[in-house]
Homo-oligomer: 508 residues x 2
């Protein structure tokens, strides 16, 4: 059926049909139509909403995300028919029945995901089936390659290209802001694509955006890396491994993080940016993604094996994940803390040490430093000021202000200091509660929102001493965070009861 186009300002995928037209086409709410833009030669599948009044007969309303691919203008006409059932659904069913995805089958599913040919529910069936009947290494390799092949790739003519990745789960992990400039200042190339927070208080891309733009095309990432040796951008803007972002968004409500999918997700991005050498930071501990060293080692082996199959040399660092990295959680606070170190500040020591360890591994892998000397070399690059100078070049090439100073970056103006209710030792941080609290305060959307820890694990605090401060940009968010903090108790001081009812709980 030929229909005239009306563009609809609803920020998602889909189309809106008059119910009578939908019936003529033979579709109901939630069914799939195929839309052909014959001018551009583009054919796009979309899911149908129906109305009896908003859209007249003969017209199709096209929502924004669908039109990003369909590229029609108001008033043009398109051909609309009921779409065939995607082959992917049979392949997903096969996995539900305990089968194994072949290379071609994986490619079919990932292509359909990239083309928006699967509904969120259908993607969730894929994700759930792959989680319950977990992917073996062959399937992980297929998935990795399919995600790379359905997106853009960088091609560097100089080598080695270095990359790093932290698998997440620990708050405040801003080490990229030290590792990337150290690597680039050492003469290596590191095109760092990173993510925005989905469940966290600030992804590396959210943090970088405090001081510079982060949305670039793949070729811009390549050019910037060639020019200054590195960059820190949002991967979601590059069209590198686009299937991965779509899968991750679906996984979020159920907190799904199957090891096989995680390995494919990370390695696809590394393969697509042309990395030769990759260091992977695997935080281990309760309330992280990897609860035990044993699981961490198994995951590391998978990363190394998949890297081997892809021609990428991988080393993994199992790191301590039971406390936040550094003292700051939330975009402004974290960037401020990282800049302070680049500017010569000698602490938090744990953050410096983790960053120079990871950078040191990369320097050794690249042959820049002899085995055992990488960390020292990384530390030298940091203390010499070369890392700061390089970071300024990176900020400049991305279009930020290269002269930005840590003291210019300030947290939100609404704050609340949480103090010790009794004398004792700080015995525990709950990562998940800290992240939840920072998010309630407004992070990462409100850049100034977050948490600054004053007490460190193992230190003694006296009654009335500050344990941490909550910052927010808006008073009501601060209030909400304060209330949530009373419930969550993200910091524990020794001797405190853990099983009192909420009403009687007191802060650490």
């Amino acid at each position: 059926m030929r229909l005239g186009v009306k563009l609809i300002d609803i920020g998602k995928r889909g189309v809106l049909l008059n119910r009578a037209d939908a019936r003529s086409i033979g579709v109901l709410d939630g069914d799939r139509v195929q839309i052909l833009n014959d001018v551009q030669g583009v054919s796009v599948a979309a899911f149908v909403d129906t109305t009896t009044t908003l859209i007249p007969l003969g017209i199709i309303g096209v929502y924004q995300k669908t039109n990003e691919r369909l590229a029609v203008s108001e008033g043009e006409t398109v051909e609309v028919r009921d779409a065939d059932r995607p082959l992917s659904l049979d392949i997903i069913k096969k996995k539900m029945n305990g089968g194994k995805f072949s290379k071609e089958e994986t490619y079919t599913i990932i292509s359909d995901i990239v083309r928006d040919d699967l509904s969120p529910a259908e993607m969730m069936a894929y994700i759930t089936a792959s989680y319950v009947n977990s992917l073996d290494l062959d399937e992980v390799e297929h998935l990795t390659r399919a995600m790379v092949e359905t997106g853009e790739r960088l091609t560097f003519h100089t080598h080695p290209i270095v990359d790093k990745h932290s698998i997440g789960g620990v708050p405040g992990n801003k080490i990229s802001f030290l590792v990337v400039p150290i690597i680039a200042a050492s003469g290596l190339k590191i095109p760092k694509t990173s993510s925005r927070a989905i469940t966290g208080a600030g992804g590396t891309a959210d943090l970088m955006e405090v001081i510079a733009p982060v949305e670039f095309s793949a070729s811009e990432v390549q050019q910037m890396t060639m020019k200054v040796g590195g960059c820190i951008v949002w991967g979601g803007a590059t069209n590198i491994a686009p299937a991965d972002d779509r899968i991750i968004i679906q996984e979020y409500p159920l907190r799904i993080d199957a090891p096989g999918q995680m390995v494919a997700s990370v390695m696809a991005k590394k393969l697509a940016v042309g990395a030769d050498l990759v260091v992977i930071d695997i935080p281990v501990g309760r309330n992280t993604k990897v609860p035990s060293l044993q699981e961490g080692r198994r995951l590391a082996r998978d990363f190394i094996e998949i890297g081997d199959r892809l021609g990428i040399k991988v080393e993994c660092a199992l790191t301590y994940g039971e406390s936040p990295v550094g003292r700051a959680i939330g975009p402004n606070l974290e960037i401020k803390e990282a800049l302070q170190i680049l500017e010569g500040g000698g602490e938090p020591h744990s953050l410096i040490q983790k960053s120079t360890s990871i950078a040191g591994i990369a320097l050794e892998m690249a042959g820049k430093a002899p085995r055992g000397n990488g960390e020292k070399m990384a530390k030298d690059v940091l203390t010499s000021g070369k890392a700061l100078a390089k970071m300024r070049e990176i900020i400049a090439v991305q279009g930020g202000n290269p002269n930005v100073r840590s003291d210019e970056i300030v947290p939100g103006s609404h704050e609340f200091v949480v103090k010790a209710q009794s004398d004792g030792y700080v015995i525990d941080f709950n990562n998940r509660s800290l992240i939840s609290l920072a998010r309630t305060a407004g992070a990462p959307q409100d850049r100034g929102a977050g948490i600054l820890l004053h007490a460190k694990k193992g230190t003694r605090v006296n009654v009335g001493e500050p344990i941490f401060t909550i910052y927010a940009e808006r008073a009501w968010r601060l209030q909400k965070a304060i209330e949530e903090g009373r419930r969550l108790m993200p910091v524990l001081v020794e001797g405190m009861l853990l099983d009192r009812v909420p009403a009687e709980m007191r802060w650490g």
Copy 2:
């Protein structure tokens, strides 16, 4: 945040927010908000779409299905906040990890489904996890009870209440139109709720709608049954086991039909209508839901066991499912065929025999006929004209024309006769292809669309003899069905090659 209500004529669940308001609330497209209508005291969760122009600041657009529960009027105000993550998601994750649903956990999930608190993707995670890590009998019992408890129930004060169910998968299975009047004419009560087609060419409710309204409340179903002994209504309108319909709609794209879920789905409806005795028709054969007798017997045991736990006496009939039941497929054609038999037509014999067998089992279970005599008694009720008289009462009580005659019901005016290309024996019908062809011709939405089979399995046909006729209400649908028929070859005549390329294929 307090927002004014604008009702939006989009026929689905959800709300539309100005992007700036969404950001203030702290939600993105696809996130969940909780909406409180303080006047009615109703709180409803809904998923968010965003816009920058269609909805001004301070306003929330409410889609139709969400407002069915929220019940607000244009211009009223509601309180909107970001919704908490439903507890159900953790329970679903537990099942993904191989756990078992407890009674309380099942109830939590089913309640959330009925309240629209789970997104389609989240429901699909539940369905997929329950399919891969299949439900045991305890979980099936919990699921059955939870589906009953979250909907309406009928309570009859006379007993026994009889019911029947066909699990589907075989086209043309219109036996309810014979079984229900036979049972009711025998003095028993049979409140038959049935479904509309999702994947089929016409559900029992679609067929009944040709001759009478089918949408009634639960209490109307009860009253009609008390008055004339039976009825044939659409279960979806009754709010009986409403969770089941929502689950089935999600299962449709992936053709998921896990035995445990199927048993719960059927038995929940039977328990909710107050059935004491149930006959279940399990068609067995290639291209049905149950490929082998062994699987049919296993499924039958599960039905009987769950019935036992619920206090319902169940008998199962494993029936021949490799050919359509009768000759007609599609609403008008099937109703016509059923009425012809009620009016005294002696064929198709296979349809009569299947109907009287199933009715006979129920008559024996109810003590109306001695063991071994049920089928004969059913046949007597049919040939005596009592079943026709009862059917007229049922049509009348549902508001249809009780004097309707089979010759008044006509198929679509566009038809195409498929003839034998060679002499030979009809060796096979492909159920799925026949259903697909009838749907392409327009069934079940176009009531007159469908297929009438002329040749029967095992009979000899000569070149040029009609094998089947395709009917449609619209010329272009007929054309599409003819093209699809060439590809699918739903009827096979002996000697035909099965592996030729489509262009060279000829009709059976």
